[in-house]
Symmetry: D3
């Protein structure tokens, strides 16, 4: 199990914390990537800061009654518990639950442990149990719908750190996961740096545009900005962004 | 593009602001209209005043890669931007997105512009991007689910101000759209005045019924009110509605 | 129509008020019951105390236009109103709506009456109308999605107090219904006492585990607890639970 | 358990055997009934004569593991077997399976027994097991999708001969069920006679129209027929239907 | 209403009759078009020759009870009948039914008339009524599922010959529609000629590959063909395709 | 990549060829396995002999545009082609397509090669392209729905011979896959021998029961057989099964 965190630039992570998933999907669209936003995966408790970190993947397959039996499980050999103890601080645990919310993909005690260990967040295209309690942790969590039944009613943890699908999107270990109140975007690792940079600039321009719109200006020529509007933006930046207003994730 | 706002009575709009979508569906059911409430369309940010206004329609069709290309779009010819600048103040923009939440039906900058222009609200049976930011505008917005990807990943804006379907309901330009925390009802334009009047009266009667129930009375004979109960209601009105309590949208 | 409340031990109800649906599904899983958590049924207004009570069932079938006509309905013979007046205080009304949210399964006036009468809560696998108003009642209500249209657009109340399905789960009159912010679990009546007892103990152990995790301990050996950890738990209990922290439904 | 067959006129049954479900839905629409065609319920083996008979209903609720155990079932007390032996010859067994195809609603041995007993057909909004074998019986069977798992994995037979929903349609014992290769229509019992008569006449007119269309005539004025076209139809009937061609279920 | 058939080359139509929708989606994928195959739309009666022709579009919106009334319809003004008489011979009628199979998008009498008039085929992302009868026409028809209820229970014909969505795919008047037993592909008009040519060549190569596989050859190097295999293909063509075997739509 | 075929007893395979998936799900239910029948997976071309063989698994994940490009694919390194050449004769290829029918999971040329190599069958919970052509091969194929678009529009072949989910069921390499016209059942490898034996006996008993029912006998006491009926069965066997009739897959 490799640790993909070593080679992630902290500045990239920091930039991605300040931009929205909407902006990131636009930048990725510009690079030909159209399927990067997970379907139906939402924050348990909105209003937290953006979640950003490299993906650490867990793959569930359907449970089978002769293999999966809750009361015989050994905490020292169960793959889900091993994952809880080994997902690196700063990483985002992404669980491929095949879109099945019929049983939990995990619960509050394991989430609490991961939060303690510094994990950046947890994501499933199924559901968590104890989701109200998980929502009260500082660590963000994303799911399709809450699901109380124990994991092994539906899911068997089978693999760690292999490429998976989650919410219909390809997730490879080390891809950068960004989550905000709208949902989850997956950025291929090799694109993270340039995407982060382009997204920060795009949001800065949109911040200028928002201030112009707030002042009563039409979107014609302004959004997307034509050459004249871009010139005004540059002047606005040079002037210290005098009319900046909160947008996107800023509250 | 006609402006259907000229012939809408401000008193009708005002009455509709004070009643719930539940009451309106009942009145419309009494007139033989059973399919007037959009399926799955909810407010981005509940708790705002009722949204009321004539429908201004925009129809999306599926995007096609050789036609829809985000980075070549011209703000002066793009139909969605033209719509943003031409939807009349007081109107509700209703977007037929074919129920597809795989990409956005619009975003915060256009919403901000429409809010500035006095648009009464925006509705899609798809999803908006930047939905947390849109939710912070005073102008209400309704969608099925948030969707970060850019519009042209799935949608091509094709027509303005033609009859459409939205959330499974027929919407013709000028039909009156009412939205509250439960969702969206569409009132055919020619029925708006009588529906508004009947709805106000029905809610007044229900206000009386609610006060009686709060006082411990059985619903037998009371709801729906028999002749005796209607008499009591009239007396209650004559007495100045002494026991009125908050119901429906009133908080 | 029998009253199944007479033979429910108040102590069992009280115990169930203090545990989560997640814990209850685990205990029931241990008894071989895997299909006890309703699919897609959520609280209208989260944050209320747990709902607990014996099921009182109402079965809807699809409406038929020649039978179901809102404006001819007589409050004294309509089955839904009779149910409203006869569901026992302390019971939970569970409505089999066949998962159909195309029209309401009930509304605020009947809910208000049931709340006055001391009904413990109301549940449907369809939707309620006036749901924002219902959400402001102290009595909890659970549904799949709000639905403004009047009941008889889709539903005909046909039977009371017979076994039903709701949210994909078997519900027999008198089964114990427990609802929290995650959803609804159905406990067969004959198991309620032992399940309640086991759940309270399980949550007490998990409370100890949570405090250990908060203190930085690994889940290995701890969750599920091995013999040594169970011994520590017993000592922790004997010491008066010195490190207890809020979990589950406790806020 | 009443036998609703005694009071069904054989001539009505015979007429309904000769018309299509499409024609019947039109006639029922004319009487204000719009929700009479089951959603998603299709013949296992198309190409058989129309199925017609009064509904005999069976209601399934979700199975519960402590109640439903295949290997302890007693053929003499199991409700599904009792139903198999008591559904009257000529009747159609309609099973409310809540749209759940996760396990069978019945299988070939019970179907074979009902076919021997002269049952007119079997219908479920779930699925049958041994469906290829059932399809080889002369007795028609209708389902949503085949489903091999044994009944009790999902279903518990709970009631016989009470009103149910099936495929989203109200079915009351004794309602007349008609099935062809397109699906299933439910005719309220009290309307059966007049609906049958109107349907036969409508199909006769459409037979004339089809022959005219085959001869190259435009549908303008012809379909629906105006007064002149109706006069031509009457003449065509008087002339012995000289150009009659196979339509609808006729092959 | 323009007739888009004049400028379609008969040779292109002929070439497209000989290739499969699978091959066409590959060629279109090579041109950057990934969303060209309708979801869930299948032939009513498989086994007919390929359907090929320019799209003639009809748009349905949801019906409204005060507008749509079957028994007052006038055959001379009803848009669906006008369309039946005006869709050009050789064209394919494509109906945008919003994926709603709750009522028919058309029936056998109109289909029979269009077949007589030489229409190449009919397509809906809803369902047809009288579908068994339609299936017996020589003219192919494609739908999601059969649907007996009359059109106006759900659909109002609103527009002809405007761009629509059908089965999730953009369809503009004049786009070339190709249907085989697998489903429907939409080819943008301006690409039809080059796509047809490339598809014919691709299928010829695949015919060679199929014959090689039938002879026992590995797919390594063969599929897709490397330079050597392409050389063998050219030789095979030069030799008169000595081992040709039926593939794709050929039976 | 292990070859799991070496240790499969040919007699077990032969027995499983003679029994139905319905019978097998019953036997597995008796061993506590309730989730063994794939959801929605059907034969492309019904009427072929049962498919039986050990599972050889292929896992697809969502495609990503910068990785998956059809026209740069090399037949010698593409995982799907390698799988085509390495899946052992007698095995069943089972493809985890995440239930996504938006693009093909494979096509006719690879299927033709596998058929030549003696592969027992192919299964996906997505769809195949060229499915009519695949249906004409002797080798059976099972899918959810046909899907013409090329594989890489949606799927990236990622892994071979690891445990997967398919149609909601756990499939481990070497598990025995049985397919008939009803669908697909997965038998855990370690249970295959005893399940096969029990299934053969159960079908023999049901063959006796079917002959009794055909002779007019009630199912009471007969199905499931009580001790007396089992005695009759034994006598029937001893007498050479004089009344045997075709059941299940026998035609």
């Amino acid at each position: 199990v490799p640790n993909d965190l070593n080679d992630i630039d902290a500045a990239v992570i920091a930039r991605l914390r300040g931009v929205s998933t909407a902006t990131l999907t636009t930048i990725l669209y510009g690079k030909g990537l159209k399927n990067v936003f997970m379907r139906g995966v939402r924050p348990i408790a909105p209003g937290k800061p953006n979640m950003v970190g490299p993906a650490y993947t867990l793959r569930m397959i359907p449970a089978r009654e002769d293999i999966d039996n809750l009361f015989e499980r050994d905490s020292r050999t169960d793959l889900q518990r091993i994952t809880t103890e080994t997902v690196p601080p700063g990483a985002v645990l992404v669980v491929d639950s095949r879109g099945d919310t019929g049983a939990a993909s995990g619960g509050a005690l394991l989430a609490r442990r991961m939060a303690y260990r510094g994990v950046a967040g947890i994501v499933t295209d199924g559901g968590f149990r104890d989701s109200p309690e998980i929502g009260r942790l500082a660590m963000p969590a994303f799911q399709v719908a809450p699901s109380a039944p124990p994991v092994l009613v539906r899911h068997h943890p089978e693999d760690v750190q292999i490429p998976i699908g989650c919410g219909g999107v390809s997730v490879r270990p080390g891809d950068i996961i960004v989550g905000d109140d709208e949902g989850i975007v997956v950025i291929p690792k090799h694109l993270a740096e340039e995407v982060a940079e382009a997204a920060v600039r795009k949001e800065d321009i949109e911040c200028f545009i928002a201030s112009e719109i707030t002042g009563g200006r039409s979107v014609m020529g302004l959004y997307p900005p034509d050459a004249a509007a871009l010139g005004e933006y540059e002047a606005w930046v040079a002037a210290g962004r005098p009319t900046q207003q909160p947008t996107k994730g800023q509250q």
